[in-house]
């Protein structure tokens, strides 16, 4: 153990597979789909009509149910994830005596507010808003946290950036404990329409549970999802000293940019390869020692093949035995919440010693020649995991988590 090691001691999440760690783990390893037909708003004129949707988010114990219900959905999600993570880590009651920071991966703070309000006939988009707080500061204030708070956005890669920044804040001494992760409530009429018109979404509307099929030859686009996860990060030494449950060590982070296109992944795999290599070097992990890869694989024709090339290059011959799966097959693509929820999938894989499956992988694309985990979880010894998250704007990130 190094003096600068940082670990995860608390988890809070709300996903299409549930709101509690145990429920999410059970559903993930059972290969259950959280993708449904959208019922929250009319979708008859939308090209894609399915999504990974979270059920009603419960109120954390600290907030009256009626007050919680009146909050915007993104506030509910962030509050639930942060409060339950602090409680899980054993910091909830003592959060005032330490500097708790928060780094939140999110993208739709203001646009979600304007859309929700505007579609209800409101006029907030036409009103001054310089006095309003962003969701990260509302969350920070409601939870009475005394450390700094920032929100970061690299589209689907946001959560990995949040974990990297939080780890650095701990090492710099800016915080004693830091919440980090990503939250997104993107299953809204305009977001689903925007991605649909971009021709990025699956149109398998008659079979929602089969719509998200990463690496499958019959995939036809991703399925948008909503939800998120927040983690409590703290120095490994202090976690051990207080005998906290340690879910994982945040061993390595890597990031790069394609500098190619705002939407389409680069045909040159080198930038993404650089991000994965950087994470492995940061973690001092040999590629051959990785036990599980949670792929970004969204179920798009271009993206899945591009990532397969990256993995083949990184892992060389080891790629034949290192299990690779995309849990987006079950959750849908949670956009800025995706990286954090997929970090949670890696934690579950280490905790349960099982690689989660890629469901709907009936006919693996021959251009994605990987050691897949089709349909069913596989029991394996898993101590080191990597999670890739690549986003619009050309962002490539990789997170290495290790059993402590």
């Amino acid at each position: 153990m190094s003096g600068s090691d940082v670990c995860i001691t608390g988890v809070g999440a709300a996903t299409p597979l549930g709101h509690a760690y145990r429920t999410i783990a059970d559903n993930l390893l059972a290969g259950r789909s959280g993708v449904r037909r959208i019922t929250a708003f009319p979708v008859d004129d939308h090209p894609s009509q399915v999504a990974g949707v979270v059920a009603e988010i419960p109120s954390p114990v600290s907030i009256a149910a009626a007050d919680f219900a009146a909050l915007p959905k993104i506030d509910q999600l962030a509050l639930w994830c942060c409060a339950t993570a602090l409680e899980d880590a054993g910091w909830w009651k003592n959060r005032a005596v330490v500097r708790v920071g928060i780094v939140l991966g999110t993208a739709a703070d203001w646009s979600a507010l304007w859309e929700t309000d505007g579609l209800r006939g409101g006029t907030q988009i036409y009103e001054p808003q310089q006095h309003l707080e962003s969701v990260v500061h509302r969350t920070r204030r409601r939870l009475q946290l005394s450390g700094p708070g920032v929100s970061v956005s690299a589209a689907c890669a946001s959560g990995n950036y949040a974990l990297a920044l939080a780890r650095r804040w701990l090492r710099m001494g800016w915080v004693d404990v830091c919440l980090a992760g990503g939250c997104d409530m993107a299953v809204t009429p305009m977001t689903v329409a925007g991605f649909g018109n971009l021709r990025a979404l699956s149109r398998r509307n008659d079979d929602p549970a089969a719509a998200s099929r990463p690496f499958d030859a019959d995939r036809d686009g991703f399925v948008v999802g909503e939800g998120g996860a927040m983690f409590v990060l703290e120095p490994m030494a202090s976690a051990r000293k207080r005998s906290a449950r340690i879910y994982a060590k945040v061993a390595g982070c890597g990031a790069s940019s394609d500098a190619f296109h705002m939407v389409i992944p680069s045909s040159d795999p080198q930038p993404a390869i650089a991000a994965v290599r950087q994470a492995l070097v940061d973690a001092r992990v040999d590629p051959a020692d990785v036990d599980y890869v949670n792929a970004h694989a969204t179920s798009t024709a271009v993206g899945d093949v591009a990532e397969a090339k990256v993995l083949e290059t990184i892992f060389e011959s080891s790629i034949e035995r290192i299990p690779v799966s995309s849990t987006k097959s079950m959750t849908g693509h949670l956009l800025t919440g995706a990286a954090a929820v997929e970090a949670l999938a890696c934690i579950i894989a280490m905790d349960q010693q099982a690689a989660p499956p890629t469901i709907n992988l009936d006919h693996p694309d021959p251009e994605c020649n990987l050691c897949h985990v089709p349909h069913q979880a596989q029991q394996r010894a898993i101590r080191t995991t990597i999670s890739n998250s690549f986003g619009f704007g050309g962002s490539n990130t990789c997170l290495v988590l290790q059993a402590a």
Binding site: R99, S151, S153, A154, Y161, M172, W174, M262, F392, S395
Partner: protein
């Protein structure tokens, strides 16, 4: 003298510029040279021109379509980086391994307003496929990365009124890792706030897009450059030297005072945040 540097504005807008003595640097403080600084103010007409031609990169003009679908704040961000590069004589310099952190304020309101109206009148098909890629918070940093072939990390910060202050914290965090040759910190926002006139495709009153670009490099004492110092610590009592941090205050300060002076400003939410720009060669 640039706009905003009159006596009257200076007194009102600029925060107190005080001695370097700081009360809140108990935790790690990040100090790094600023290799280049640029600011920009663009009204509506200027933004139209900058959208077609924000400047040059590697001595060549941008394609006129490069910023066709971009938000106005992205246009200003690309233009201020281009101007900073030109001012520094860096046309031939590669920024390949640099990072980009961009912090727009209330980003995408114009595009969202138009999209909302079209969605209400036309339904799902009224939403442009360019809406999400170019009006989401990552778009400014992603566009700069693409423009200058920057392959280091790129991401957006905040999007809210406190974006500029959050961006300084994040930039300091990134620089402190010491694994990037440089970092572009780009801040944008409207002054006064851009309030769209319903259905008119323009703001209710004339507004100016402000932008600032700082080219930060890892600590190098021999460089003799002005430097940025950022620290962060929770304070439990009011500090008389602190005042609200804003993009307007920063741009005014950079335009009026150049590289010299110090700022100690307060971040929203009660966390104090000190930054100082000092021209070490003049001390």
């Amino acid at each position: 003298m640039p706009d905003g540097c009159s006596e009257d504005n200076g007194a009102e807008r600029n925060p107190p510029l005080i001695a370097t003595q700081s009360s809140s640097f108990a935790a790690a403080t990040v100090k790094c040279p600023i290799a280049g600084i640029g600011t920009l103010r663009a009204d509506a007409d200027q933004l139209v021109k900058l959208r077609r031609q924000p400047g040059v990169r590697a001595g060549k003009p941008f394609s006129p379509a490069f910023l066709k679908h971009a938000d106005d704040q992205t246009v200003a961000a690309v233009a201020v980086v281009a101007q900073t590069i030109a001012k520094q004589g860096w046309d031939d310099r590669s920024f390949r391994d640099w990072g980009v952190v961009a912090a727009p304020i209330l980003f995408g309101r114009f595009g969202n307003e138009a999209a909302l109206r079209r969605f209400v009148s036309e339904g799902a098909w009224g939403i442009s496929p360019h809406m999400i890629p170019h009006h989401s918070l990552h778009a400014v940093a992603g566009t700069i990365s693409q423009a200058w072939q920057i392959h280091g990390p790129n991401f957006g910060i905040s999007g809210g009124p406190g974006a500029a202050a959050e961006a300084f914290l994040v930039a300091a965090t990134m620089v402190s890792e010491n694994n990037l040759p440089g970092l572009w910190l780009v801040l944008t926002g409207f002054d006064p706030e851009y309030i769209p006139e319903k259905g008119a495709g323009k703001p209710t009153q004339p507004t100016t897009c402000l932008a600032a670009a700082l080219a930060l490099t890892p600590d190098n004492p021999s460089a003799g450059l002005p430097s940025l110092r950022v620290g962060c610590e929770t304070q439990h009592q009011d500090d008389p030297h602190s005042s609200d941090f804003s993009l307007r205050a920063l741009v005014n300060h950079l335009e009026c005072k150049g590289n010299d002076g110090h700022g100690q400003w307060r971040m929203p939410g009660g966390v104090d945040f000190d930054w100082q720009i000092e021209a070490e060669t003049q001390r």
